[in-house]
């Protein structure tokens, strides 16, 4: 107990404990009332938790264990892990899983490295730095439906991006219409929003690094690259990890651009797990297979969210 008082806000902590002490004397009646109020105040959130999270999750798990017959006249029968078996026996589904993992292995480091470089750039002493920083934030404010439509237009084979490539002497590219480039197009439009967003977190992390460390590095004649790897990166470890996990969580459920621009195509090249679960359930009408996909997606999500929660908790303890 004594060791835990060395927190970032020792004064508040001490005050809180001091404030609680007189209560201990007249504890009995007050305590029961407190418990009652705690239950009353918590109940809406707990009801919401059960209805909005537990029920659908359990529902998905149960459904994924049944097999329905077309037409819906014969009741669904228990199928065990049969749906999972047939999913993993389907080469299309296996490539969807692989594609989703590869997509995440590319887009997350890509966005975070660029967000980090830009965060460092926009915390340098350069003229009107706030203006340039704001320009990078602006895409965050555009809702993803709008940015998907705009990028769909921009990446049109006869669109402005190809016009720019031609003007620079390159060959026009098919972008979203090519199985080789469509996913890269999705990554590009998601990053137009994502880089600025994650940069926000990294900038506040950078601003929390004490200036003295950089002064010390200067005295030691460390160059900018050495300073970056020996001071910036280690001091930024926590925000970086947090951003990495949060970005991963967000990208695993990326849905709008796929649904709006490519419908998973061409040739399934942009079929990610989230879209596949949607298409299996509503496009192909296989509720049970779709539920199994949702369960797989949710398991992956829970893993990353637990990781994220750990990082959030650590964020509160002093460095």
């Amino acid at each position: 107990m004594a060791s835990s008082t060395v927190t970032s806000e020792p004064v508040v902590a001490k005050r809180r404990r001091a404030g609680r002490r007189p209560e201990a004397g007249r504890q009995r009646p007050g305590r029961r009332q407190e418990l009652m109020w705690a239950a009353i105040f918590l109940s809406p959130a707990i009801v919401a938790l059960v209805v909005l999270r537990v029920v659908p999750t359990v529902g998905a798990v149960v459904q994924s264990l049944y097999k329905a017959f077309p037409g819906g006249i014969i009741p669904a029968t228990f199928h065990g892990l049969g749906n999972y078996e047939s999913l993993f026996a389907d080469p299309n589904f296996v490539s969807t899983i692989v594609r989703t993992l590869v997509f995440n292995a590319i887009i997350n480091p890509f966005q975070i490295v660029l967000a980090l470089l830009l965060a460092v750039l926009f915390t340098q002493k350069i003229p009107a730095v706030g203006v340039w920083r704001t320009l990078v934030f602006i895409p965050i404010t555009v809702p993803i439906v709008g940015s998907s439509i705009a990028w769909g237009a921009a990446l049109n084979p006869e669109g402005p991006v190809n016009a720019l490539i031609s003007a620079l002497g390159g060959n026009p590219q098919p972008f979203l219409t090519s199985p080789d480039q469509a996913l890269a197009g999705i990554i590009m439009l998601a990053s137009w929003i994502g880089i600025g967003y994650w940069m926000l977190f990294l900038i506040s992390g950078l601003q929390a690094i004490p200036e003295e460390l950089y002064d010390a590095a200067k005295i030691d004649r460390a160059g900018p690259i050495r300073t970056f790897f020996s001071i910036t990166i280690p001091m930024l470890k926590r925000p970086l990890l947090f951003v990495l996990v949060a970005d991963t969580v967000a990208n695993f459920v990326l849905f709008v651009p796929v649904q709006l621009l490519t419908q998973g195509g061409p040739q399934n090249s942009t079929t990610l797990l989230m879209f596949d679960a949607y298409r299996t359930t509503y496009g192909y009408g296989s509720r049970n297979l779709g539920a199994a996909e949702v369960v797989i997606l949710t398991v992956i999500m829970i893993f990353f969210v637990l990781l994220q929660f750990r990082l959030l908790r650590e964020e509160r303890t002093p460095r």
């Binding site: 809406p44 919401a48 999270r53 659908p56 340098q124 237009a153 003007a167 359930t281 779709g290």
Partner: protein
């Protein structure tokens, strides 16, 4: 101002690096903002001109020959977008109101009272609401439809009220409010709900603003959920309606861009309003 021979050289080197960094910052900033400018300008120019100026590359890409509001008129008067905007507003405001009350109550219970399992309940609530909603949207939509909540406002509002980060933020903020305030209010005979809604809520303007924004933006940009739960066009929300205009008339980019600008500006304005509203409520915290 003692000058050593080394000094002028060094200042010049610093200056070149500043010039290079500034140039990079300007180019990067311009690169990010250019598509947004293209959308903004496209929304104010004749639709046909968006297509004709796309290629080859020229200044006409972002310099319109005339400024017109016809895209906005088409969007808001002729299509069902105005109605979808109103629906989105209703859903957002109701979600913020219900969500804030629910989050504040939960956060208060988890910040003020000591009871066994408190940290566990907190962790479970925050973790489960941090699993992205999209992951379980499909089975939840099936449940809601079974319960008769398909094509209803209630069905649209409910999933948006629960936000783990809102509860997390509010609890952190409430933990910083000295217990002595609460004890003083209790001695004055204030009930627990009164302490929460008139004391804690009033001291927590910034945290309430943040939480309101989280809930508002979550609902304002929601796409998958309204797509799954609503089939009745009269009830549809703005993002899905915007996507609908994208599908219907091939390449009516003028209208699409106008819709994008409207969807972008509304949260910006709402943020400003919310900040004014909650900013006024906040009377500052701190124990003397």
């Amino acid at each position: 101002m003692t000058t050593t021979p080394a000094l002028p050289v060094r200042t010049r080197r610093v200056k070149t690096s500043t010039v290079v960094l500034t140039a990079v910052a300007v180019i990067v900033g311009a690169g990010f903002v250019l598509p947004a400018i293209w959308i903004l300008i496209g929304s104010f120019r004749p639709n046909a001109e968006i297509l004709t100026t796309m290629s080859p590359l020229s200044w006409h890409l972002v310099i319109p020959s005339e400024v017109t509001f016809e895209n906005y008129v088409h969007l808001l008067v002729d299509s069902g977008f105005a109605r979808a905007l109103l629906n989105s507003f209703i859903v957002c405001i109701a979600s913020v109101a219900i969500g804030l009350a629910m989050s504040a109550m939960a956060a208060y219970a988890l910040a003020v009272y000591q009871f066994p399992g408190r940290n566990l309940i907190f962790a479970v609530i925050v973790i489960s609401f941090m699993v992205p909603f999209e992951a379980i949207a499909i089975p939840l939509a099936q449940q809601f439809t079974d319960w008769g909540l398909g094509n209803t406002m209630t069905g649209l509002i409910l999933p948006g009220v629960a936000n783990g980060l809102a509860i997390f933020n509010l609890r952190q903020y409430f933990l910083g409010i000295p217990q002595s305030y609460r004890e003083a209010a209790m001695i004055d005979g204030a009930s627990e709900p009164r302490i929460l809604f008139s004391l804690y809520a009033r001291l927590s303007g910034p945290a309430l603003t943040n939480s309101a924004l989280l809930i508002f933006l979550g609902q304002w940009t929601a796409f998958l959920w309204p797509l799954l739960i609503v089939s009745d066009q009269k009830l549809q929300l703005a993002p899905v309606a915007l996507a609908g205009t994208f599908g219907e008339h091939a390449a009516d980019y003028g209208q699409n861009f106008a819709g994008t600008i409207v969807l972008t500006l509304v949260p910006a304005v709402s943020m400003f309003v919310l900040q004014r509203f909650f900013g006024r409520l906040s009377i500052g915290s701190g124990e003397k």
